[in-house]
Symmetry: C2
Subunit: 155 residues, 2 copies
DNA sequence: TATTGTTATACTCTATAACTATA
DNA sequence: TATAGTTATAGAGTATAACAATA
């Protein structure tokens, strides 16, 4: 017997499916992020900015691969970041087709600013869930990723 | 040091954020679902059909609440299900404003049909992750839901 | 006054297919 | 031939605000 936390409705098998619970969790998480970030930046762009910060100079294709998005989707995200002057497309040494993506100073500043509030979100998860459970959860999510990643791959 | 499983890129702090990993996991999960379901039904509609199966006769508002979607979003999902003749809007006893949502026989058949393949997805998660880890993961996801649910609430 | 369902509208996220320029 | 980036296009998914009918 698994009851829905909000409504008390009996959800039966539904609530025992990883896929469905993951989906609901994601809806809630994006809503919390939107609240925290004050809509300054979308979750997708935030993710990309963070990756760039850790890995300056990556090609767009690399960024698409590690965020599991399509190359064409990445174009739009990079466009957005460039318009708001948070990142730049620079020449990529050794391949004139590619762009090396770098943060601007404004982009660095944004991340510093946001990392306070976003870190607070993560901190609150630690506080309310407990460090141990939080780490367990993160580990299990990554394991699940590794398991299901090949299932959706095109041939 | 946490490396991206696919690209081997160093993702630093990014890969240690529950929010980001959850997001990537969700992208992968929806892709796997799309592959399995052959695009016969969207994840959102599938979720709703499953809830209806377990709870025949709910109002649209109830469905919206337990899936954490807006009432107006639910209208579109129910419309889709009705068009494909998988569910029906019937009179709701005691409140002439509301509709009682029920599966049609065609809808029952679809779910029976899909539950084979969707259950296989879940089964594969059990197989590859192990029953114990799978149950742990499910429990932790639900705990996380309970923790973050209030954060995105308006007011 | 409050709730149920609805519409109109808009924005975000994502992908496919076809193109160009390079490799 | 293959890859990097781009464009055009399309389809999900979601929400807000305003409305009519009913409570």
């Amino acid at each position: 017997m698994s009851q829905d936390t909000l409504t008390g409705l009996e959800l039966g098998e539904l609530a025992n499916m990883v896929g469905v619970e993951l989906r609901i969790c994601q809806i809630l998480a994006e809503r919390a992020f939107a609240e925290t970030s004050q809509l300054k930046v979308s979750p997708g762009l935030y993710m990309v900015l963070s990756v760039i910060q850790q890995n300056p100079g990556l090609k767009q294709t690399d960024l698409a691969r590690c965020t599991r998005l399509d190359r064409s989707t990445m174009v739009g995200i990079i466009d957005q970041g460039e318009q708001r002057q948070w990142l730049q497309r620079l020449p990529y040494a050794g391949d004139r087709r590619a762009h090396a993506i770098h943060l601007t100073k404004k982009g660095e500043a944004l991340l510093d600013d946001m990392q306070q509030s976003v870190s607070q979100l993560e901190q609150r998860i630690c506080d309310e869930l407990g460090q141990k459970k939080r780490d367990q959860l993160l580990g299990l999510i990554k394991e699940l990723q590794a398991v299901i990643a090949p299932w959706g791959d095109k041939v």
